[in-house]
Amino acid sequence: MASEPTVDLNLKTWDEVKTTTCYMCACRCGIKVYLKDGTIKYIEGNRDHPVNKGVLCGKGSAGIMQQYSPARLTKPLMRVGPRGSGEFREVEWDEALRTATTWLSQVRSTDPKKLALFTGRDQSQALTGWWATQFGTPNFAAHGGFCSVNMAAAGLYTFGGSFWEFGEPDWDRTKYFLLFGVAEDHASNPIKTGLGKLKKNGAKIVSINPVKSGYSAIADEWVGIRPGTDGLFVGALVHQLLKAGKIDLDYLARYTNAGHLVIKDPGAEDDGLIARDRYGKILVLDAKSKKPVTLDKADQVALHGEVKLPGKAKRMGVPSFQFVAERYLSDEYSAEKAATHCGIEAATIERIAGELAHAAFEQAFELDIAWTDTHGNKHDKMTGRPVSMHAMRGISAHSNGFHTCRSIHILQILLGTIDVPGGFLYKPPFPKAAPPGLKPAGKVGEVNPLKPLPGPPLGFVAGPEDLLVNEDGSPRRIDKAYSWDAPIAAHGLMHTVITNAANKDPYGIDVLFMYMANMGWNSTMNTKGIMEHLTKIDEQTGDYVIPKFIYSDAYYSETVAYADLILPDTTYLERWDCISMLDRPISEPHGPADSIRQPVVEPDRDVRAFQTVMLDLGARLGLPGMVKEDMTPKYPGGYSDYIVNHERGPGIGPLAGFRGADGSKQGIGEVNPNQLDDYIKNGCFWKYDLPEHMRYYRMANKDYLEWAQGFGFNPNANQIMFNLYSETMQKFRQAARGHGDIVPPQVHRRRVEAFFDPVPMWYAPFEEAMTDAREFPMHAITQRPMAMYHSWGSQNAWLRQILGRNWLYMERGRAKKLALKDGDWVHVTSHHGRIKVQLKLMDGVNPDTVWTWNAIGKRSGAWNLDKNAPEAKKGFLLNHIISDLLPARGDGYRYSNSDPVTGQAAWYDLRVRIEKAGGAEMSEPQFEATKRPPGLFKAAMKIGSRALKGVRS
């Protein structure tokens, strides 16, 4: 009998291990990359990293195939055939950059706003936004307006924080968790590890989502809500809690504007604004004396009532809470009313409200941590209320998303759960003021040839005076952000740029410059229309209406064929990068953190890191901050040079850690020339753990706020006041009523007045309201699958084996009623268009909803996949039938298919009907296969580790 074979138990197939940061999604987990002879062998999570603590999801683990992908661009390209033909010639970087410089410099010296710089899945916005500022164009944004600005803005304007990178649940202590509209994205691993903890601790997880997959599959309770009605559901919960007095009155009094007096003076210019004395101090109603007094003089702040204000006879003051309570206690938000719209039983709503109340109040606890508030009061304990929430695109991507998200925050605030132990915790640099003080630049007089903008192109408007509009009220930005079309457009409206530029509405542009944004396919609504816009000819000039299109990406996406100049990017494993607190940080609730990427492999092709290219272009253009006095480049070493040496303010740079000459300072400190080495030694990240007494109640925590000011997060250490009632919204509403210096053009007034309600509300999503429910009876939505990051996973040899095509899922019972079977090919028709797809049936989905995975469908030939790849022949996009413009108003004006407050793309508002289809078993529409550009070769027929190095056949 032969003995067992010997197995090498100490196999070592690597010769070095490097840390860096993943970029397979926006989570930015820390990873360790195992290398042998400069080839990547294995990628795993970094145990020490604050974001993922050693775990790594399916996407991150597939990074090797992202690196060794046949879809990678190899050299700069210049278009030679018509746009969309895919005909290019390879050029050297020198020619590419000279061409780009010529185009850009021409724009800069004549009319800078003719450059539209929009970055998609950009994780370097601190640089790209600054670059736009220095160039002088207000036309900059990343993908937030397409993704989830509703969620971000609603939070920032309400309590100076929000979900995702602004805050997260206290996973260790929370006992009841509401998850709204979250598929797998944002955040990936932190939510997963958090859910794991909740499961272990026996906390209850409630998932409110039309689809019961992923996180919803393991939830204790699934609320299969009808899309777009979450605002009503939350409003109904608030109604139940208010009705039963299950609200934290003390919390409201201390931390919110519940008691602030609102001026009730119909017709007056300041009607609905907060009442202030002549020194500008806010007035409240003293419950004892029944007089309006300043906050510091109040004995007991009243939350309802009416009191005469100094001045005119009829000028009254009403505590803002009264408006909030009256709204939510109205019959509109009763459980019965909500039940009919949401598709949830009234009893369920009542029960969940009772459970929330129990968790927040009956299960409240105290931590023995002494702290001081901003009024100087000392507290010897911290009360914890273990209820937390998280919401993402399922809430955001609707035309009622801003108000819905505000309602969710009102629910959190009434329960007293924001930044308390067990509740929802800020992540530094948040909290910031609600809203933060940074204003967008680009007003009349601020956009001038050869001059930088006086401030950043994105910011937070606090009233009509901050809007970027012309004298006649028309928009100044190409995407109409910060105009009366979308006043609080905190993240811009990337999804409208191409349409607006093609229609020259509000004006035409000269150069469209995009990065990592697959506008020619899935990062767009009305895909075919966008492709037509990009190829539209201007009758007068004979050239394209959008004359020049520069595009940068690492991969051969569907958009590449439409660009004129391609600047190929490195992969994330080949570059320096910086996840900065000036951009979208990776902090933890108990302390700030930031991180870098370092090159772990050398590029094997003629590609350059986009950020380094931007700095190079900036130097060539002579942009201030990118050249020295003698016009030589300020950061000749490229992006890594900038990361270390750039100072946005005195002592404040892209990275907060290891500052100072010896690397011992943090937050604010002199440039440390060895900063990147210090980061690498620390695993490519830096973090700082706040002392315990500074980890909670930070909106009013004196020690924290003073520290935050010292660290450069906030300009002062003032309390962050929560806005249940939003004065900012009222200011816009007053303008719509004709008050003030800056008023909307007549055509926008009714809309602004209706939607800039200072108290959140629910209204039916626009597409639902504007289309016939009998013609389009169903909702159609998407989710991002766990193992793909939008379109970038398609050319990953491993991930596409898992998900190489998508189906349209429908509820089994509904399918039976429509006489549809599993596997049928069907037409999906919206008011905008029609597609043909294959159906699959399941139980766990709201019966009025069909859904699919987003971005799986590909255009034939793109991503260097076989022309007959299932992604092209069976996969599909819903985007084709989502219109980027709403149906026309009476006067013919078509608003963007977006939220009226922020401009967020409302792609989950889609309404469709489903009918059986005949013909070939292939998805429709099909597009002509794109040609493989030079530098790319037919993909390998087979790969294994032996062949990894030689993927190009």
Partner: protein
């Protein structure tokens, strides 16, 4: 050796995985980290055929299914990872004609010796769980190795000496340990949660265990709730009643 090893010696282990179906969210972390570890580890290479073509097919050692169970209100979906269960009496070992398929005596891990396997595929026919996949390029059978090249590997930090899938799993739905030791963490977990075998009637005696989904707590009485009674007095609107209550509380 295709006859099964003698497992009566002291110090022998029954290493295996415990997979928590109540915590798996179907993120594919385990499947992909296994794939990437084994493209350079013990099972290297794990070939992918026509990876960019119309019908890509690669050898994977772990596959994640999705199933739905129950009816109506009790319907639930779940995600189901499937990989070798390192059975105690596996037919995949006994049917192998060359002895390439064997079960280690010291820790119970079932392996394929890639140097002696002839690629007859009979072991994959004998496995009820589809744990073995044929690597068309390499000509041999591939299967979960329980990361035998990681769990004892002195080139890894001690806390990393666990299967790649267990380390990667973000929700903590995978556990690794000695299921032959009743005091091990995994054995206690199986006991506490009622871990079960797949297809026990076939008598392969799988070592890996699955933890069942916990009952939902989505009806009245599932978790504690506070009865909600309208506060305040009077015949006015709800708002008026609530305000009257606030007055009372604040006075």
């Amino acid at each position: 050796m295709t006859t099964l090893p003698d497992t009566t010696q002291p110090g022998q282990k029954k290493l295996g995985l415990v997979i928590d179906l109540d915590t798996c969210v179907g993120c594919q972390a385990c499947a992909v980290s296994c794939k990437e570890w084994n493209t350079q580890g013990y099972s290297a290479p794990l070939t992918d055929l026509e990876p960019y073509g119309p019908d890509p097919a690669g050898a994977w050692l772990n596959r994640i299914h999705g199933y739905e169970t129950g009816e109506g209100d009790n319907a639930r979906g779940l995600h189901f990872p499937r990989s070798c269960l390192h059975c105690e009496t596996p037919a995949c070992v006994t049917v192998c004609p060359t002895g390439a398929s064997y079960k280690r005596a010291e820790d119970g891990i079932v392996l394929v010796n890639p140097d002696t396997c002839i690629g007859c595929k009979l072991c994959s026919w004998a496995c009820p769980y589809g744990a073995r996949e044929y690597d068309q390029d390499d000509g041999v059978m591939k299967k979960c190795t329980l990361c035998v090249d990681r769990i004892y590997n002195e080139n890894l930090e001690p806390e990393d000496r666990q299967p790649a899938c267990v380390k990667a799993c973000p929700t903590g739905a995978r556990h690794f340990g000695d299921l032959g030791d009743e005091n091990s963490d995994v054995s206690k977990l199986v006991k506490a949660r009622g871990g079960f075998d797949l297809l026990p009637q076939m008598d392969y005696k799988p070592v890996n265990k699955y933890l069942p989904p916990r009952p939902r707590r989505d009806k009245a009485g599932g978790v504690k709730s506070t009865p909600l009674e309208t506060v305040g007095k009077g015949d006015g609107s709800l708002a008026e009643r609530v305000f009257s209550w606030i007055d009372e509380v604040l006075s």
